[in-house]
């Protein structure tokens, strides 16, 4: 009788122990899956077109503005809404048609920086018929205005640094896919985008929010590095962040040579790894087979 009670007591303790262990494992797994799901990147591009999703607009930073604050009144400049004389109006891109100088009224500093920066320079060159059209990547891409990077109707305020960084990568990647990919492979991208660390550097932390500098000049690059690495000196800027051949401009031959060396060393390291593992695995496998054979023969 006593032994029976004792045994059932033990059984209860075991059940409790395994129950707690199972629950803890399940919690950890749920935590891992939940956390992993949270880090999915938003789609690239801003999603702006002629048709506005008012549910999303109501949640955006511009929700308090009325339509005509940005778009003018229905009869402005002697134009009528809708203009029967221009039936093809809706066929052009919404972001190319809008006059983004209107953003300046509220975003003076950002607009000033944009005008000084690389994107505005590209836009001026694009509009200048005397200059040859420059292509950033393979396909023809137009120089960006505000609306190419920011979804004016949907952009939300109060997002965390990491959330802004992750969305930013999507926006930058729509024109600079190779640079976005090489950034994600770099320590900054891994720590910031994958692991969600707010201390990591996102695109604009180095390239500037509206100035978008290419950082080709080492002294400009050094200023960017020094924001987080105060002890850095000029050669520190020689560390290749975008270490892929696609993200180095064709004109930058020394950097291309460095990236080729990084690739060569990677292939050599991979070959050493593969050969060593081939030796270890084959040796162990043969050894195991032989010992199993010996064991079986003895029985």
């Amino acid at each position: 009788m006593n032994r029976h009670i004792l045994q059932s007591g033990f059984r209860k303790i075991y059940r409790l122990y395994f129950g707690i262990a199972l629950a803890a494992t399940a919690l950890i797994l749920i935590g891992i899956c939940g956390k992993a799901g949270a880090a999915i990147l938003p789609p690239s591009g801003t999603g702006s077109d002629w048709f506005i999703d008012m549910n999303r607009f109501a949640l955006s930073a511009h929700a308090a503005l009325k339509c005509d604050d940005c778009h003018g009144s229905m009869t402005e400049d002697g134009l009528k809404h809708t203009d029967e004389k221009r039936p093809d109006f809706l066929k052009q891109s919404a972001t190319r048609a809008y006059d983004y100088a209107r953003c300046r009224r509220c975003h003076e500093l950002s607009f000033k920086r944009y005008l000084e920066g690389g994107h505005a320079k590209a836009l001026r060159e694009e509009k200048d018929p005397s200059k040859e059209k420059k292509q950033v990547t393979g396909e023809k891409i137009m120089a960006p205005t505000c609306g190419e990077c920011h979804a004016s109707h949907y952009e939300r305020s109060g997002l965390s640094r990491v959330a802004v960084g992750q969305r930013m990568l999507g926006a930058c990647a729509s024109c600079h896919p190779a640079n976005a990919a090489s950034y994600r492979n770099n320590i900054h991208g891994r720590v910031g985008i994958d692991l969600g660390n707010p201390k990591a550097a996102f695109c604009t932390d180095c390239h500037g929010a509206h100035t978008v500098d290419s950082l080709k000049n080492p002294q400009t690059a050094l200023l960017a590095c020094k924001r987080c690495h105060p002890k850095a000196e000029t050669e520190f800027t020689g560390i290749v962040i975008h270490a892929s051949l696609e993200s180095v401009p064709a004109a930058d031959a020394p950097k291309k040579a460095e990236v080729i060396w990084i690739h060569r060393i990677r292939w050599i390291a991979l070959a050493v790894l593969a050969l060593s593992l081939a030796f270890f695995v084959a040796h162990s496998f043969l050894w195991l087979l032989r010992e199993i054979h010996d064991k079986l023969r003895k029985h």
Partner: protein, 216 residues
């Protein structure tokens, strides 16, 4: 528990110092492996989940560096012990008890291969350390130092770029990653598998923890 019995008066194979160093390196190396792999494979869900569990990338970096200092500390202590063994104890570099590779290792290797394919009835009689143990020892010794040097470059890039071209930091990162992959696969699969799970030894070879040898 063990296939071959260990008698209390069996010869000591590993001294207290070596057992202690092995134990510390065992935990230090595991810590380095899990935190390092979580960064190296950061785009995968398990890596992100593990990083979240231990409190983010900053904590992982701190943990990785702590484990690195402890593990490399063991290498330094071992190097000092080696010097003491040579000069204090006037120990021999060569001979049957040595970790230094010798001609006999080549013969043992050929004999062992012949045994694998059934050309020899018995495995070779190894000295105190077999050729496989010597390979692992020296691979680990070289690996620990290259990992230490490349790791230090990645830890203090500001300092090293004063003397080296910037892209050497990229090279250090590449070497650190592939060396780590090699070490992790060899230690967690080949070392544990062949030292403990071989049919001859299964379930465990306790000599690195108790110090007692069960051969001879």
């Amino acid at each position: 528990m063990q296939a071959t019995s260990i008698t209390p008066d069996a010869p000591i194979r590993f001294s207290v110092l070596h057992r202690l160093l092995h134990l510390v390196v065992m935990f230090g190396f595991t810590g380095l492996a899990v935190t390092g792999l979580s960064l190296g494979l950061s785009s995968t869900a398990p890596a992100r989940g593990f990083m979240w569990l231990i409190g983010g990338a900053s904590h992982a970096a701190w943990l990785h560096r702590c484990c690195a200092v402890v593990t490399y500390g063991c290498v330094v202590i071992h190097a000092f012990w080696f010097l003491y063994y040579k000069f204090g104890l006037a120990g021999a570099w060569t001979g049957p008890d040595s970790i230094v590779p010798s001609l006999k290792d080549l013969k043992d290797f050929k004999h062992h291969l012949a045994y694998f394919f059934g050309l020899e009835k018995t495995p070779p009689r190894f000295d105190k350390f077999s050729y496989m143990e010597k390979i692992e020892y020296w691979a680990l010794f070289i690996g620990m130092n290259t990992m230490g040097i490349t790791g230090l470059v990645l830890w203090y890039p500001e300092c090293f770029t004063r003397y080296l071209p910037g892209f050497f930091v990229n090279l250090a990162q590449v070497l650190h990653f592939y060396e780590a992959l090699l070490a992790i696969v060899v230690k967690f699969f080949i070392h544990i598998g062949m030292v403990h799970f071989r049919p001859e030894i299964y379930p465990a070879d306790t000599s690195i923890f108790t110090g007692r040898s069960h051969t001879e």
